[in-house]
Symmetry: C2
Subunit: 418 residues, 2 copies
Amino acid sequence: MLKLPRGTRDFSPDDMNKRNYVENSMRATFEKYGYKEVETPVIEYLELFTKKSGETIIDEIYTFKDKGGRELSLRPELTAPVIRFYIDKLQMKPKPLKLFYFGKCYRYDRPQKGRYREFKQAGCEIIGTNKPEALAELISMSYNILRNIGVKDIILNIGNLKILSYFFDELKLSKDQRKYIMPLIDKSKIEDLKGAFNKFGLNEIKVEKFLNILKTDDICNVLNFINDKNEIIDEINNLKEIFKFLNSSFKIKFNLKLGIVRGLDYYTGLVFEIEAPSLGAEKQICGGGQYDLINIFGGKETPTSGFAIGFDRTIISLEMEKYNFPEEKLDFYIIPVNDNMIEKSLEIIELIRNKNVKVDIDLLRRGVGKSLKYSSSINALNSIIIGPKELNNNSVTIRNMETGNQKIIKLDQLIKSI
Amino acid sequence: MLKLPRGTRDFSPDDMNKRNYVENSMRATFEKYGYKEVETPVIEYLELFTKKSGETIIDEIYTFKDKGGRELSLRPELTAPVIRFYIDKLQMKPKPLKLFYFGKCYRYDRPQKGRYREFKQAGCEIIGTNKPEALAELISMSYNILRNIGVKDIILNIGNLKILSYFFDELKLSKDQRKYIMPLIDKSKIEDLKGAFNKFGLNEIKVEKFLNILKTDDICNVLNFINDKNEIIDEINNLKEIFKFLNSSFKIKFNLKLGIVRGLDYYTGLVFEIEAPSLGAEKQICGGGQYDLINIFGGKETPTSGFAIGFDRTIISLEMEKYNFPEEKLDFYIIPVNDNMIEKSLEIIELIRNKNVKVDIDLLRRGVGKSLKYSSSINALNSIIIGPKELNNNSVTIRNMETGNQKIIKLDQLIKSI
């Protein structure tokens, strides 16, 4: 039998019902914040992604040569394509530019729950401002997108890579050392982290201080750890102002977490993540922050921030929380009682469809009993039975499929009532 | 500069506005007919498409090996994947099964207007019935999808490959001869067709008769051309009944065109096409019919029909017809007159957004004059100017961006009015 490729999925009507609900809800929230939708191709030249993430990314993505010998790839994420698009065609637009998008992405990963080779992302970028109110709005939007969909249990953590780097600098960590400890910080592996610092020959007081910084949950305390305030004070004040807006204007709950680690070459300051604990091990559902990609891609320097939301994980988290997705119902199912009724039934179905409701009709000439069974199998709210006796009197029989009640009704009265 | 791959496109907010309008309209029509949405992966094993279309298709599609050495491809169309999905997981569902879908497809083609390497298709399949009313409904839906979107100038042509094949049989044409003349019939190259028949050694009377069949526009006349009526009479009567339903019940305009040629290995009877003359040379916007793929893929035999609509061509045809796409407007743009107003302004924006309208805010602290300019550049309907004097009085200034009229209004009155 023909199979679908490993790590990819088919989506049934029930799945699509959920997916369309989530996409429409996300789109509505993005638009409420003045964001505008864009779309880029699924295939891109490989160099777009190696320029952003280095050559090592090649092992993790689908790449292939086109017939002209150029290296193509299936996009592993959407920010690089959108920034390419921005530099190519949108640089002259008035700033700030607020863009959002949905798209399938591809990673050559080992598939597991919440990790697929073909997955969908939602995301956005705000280009042209790094004011605290812009960043606070961005963060609160990410939170509200998930809340508006109906995800209940989410945790928002906010960090800052400039501040983290400042402390790395104080510890005089080399680039390789930073690379080594970052995953340990990310996964909160404190014992392993202590071991690494020990190996690096750092004195224990410094290590203890650094571990305390990671634990700090109050931005005002961070200043106490800082020796050379000039270097980092602006960044801390910015973060304070962002927190003020989130607290007092947007009334969003969040945690300071200076141990948030995202790609250091790419993110430049603020970073944030949203976790959905219902997801278990793969609980991160959203990630973003301030980054610099326009520069790397050769565009005119301007501040950028954005985030991505895992579309599939959002759906899994709703399912885990037993969210009550809106059900798709068919308004009417039409049953001609015999073959002579078909022509007139098709005419009636047209009249009803013109009222913008969902209508189906028996297309197998299978009789009233079997048709009623099918009608309830496809979740029809009402069946309309069209027989010669009633039709002679310009009437049809309508049956409420939930209660089983049925009555004879004049056709024009029925049409008018819809 | 980083480029996008040849034959692929980026879509701007204006493009997406059009594309979302078209997709939503198409989805609404499919659902009105009781069709349910499904989705399949962009990547499929290559054998899915070679099984359907033969090895020659490899030259026309993107193929690549995964890291395990299996041949993958970017899907060139959506019917084969949906039928694979049906056989794998939907065979036990009550019949008929009405499925629709949207998806990006890929062909390694020479790009030109209306032909892209990455393009989008909409389509549907009805599985489990070949009754004339089912086929008539399918055809009328394809027509109404385009009319409901707003495409005005479309031409619906209906043919039948069983009937065409009957006449091929009468002429005793070999498989190769059929293959040779089919593109000539498709493009109505009558002189070339005559030349080919001459080369095949057919007598002129027979050729003249065949050409007259191609010209017939009345299904009742077709019978006059037929010697052995038993073989083909059912098919003709079916087609007559389809035409009756289209005429009298659905009131759809169409033409009989026995010269419609689609893949003979795949389509089995009814075929139809819709042309949008506004598109010029590449004017076919929809194509479909009855086909047999379930058999080829090893599923349990059941009749299937469907069609595909070119999504990109639909948009081009609307643009050619100067269709007035609904415009996206921002409801409110908020302007804090100075930095001290930001915190309160963000609070106000939350109140307004909770009313489910689209609101943006100055995120560059650029003052009232420049902000009003930006507000009109992003098509805001109203600007709300938040200053200390008015705010002390629980009021704000609202400016109608079209008329330029502005007035001071109590904040709670404003919120209530939204």
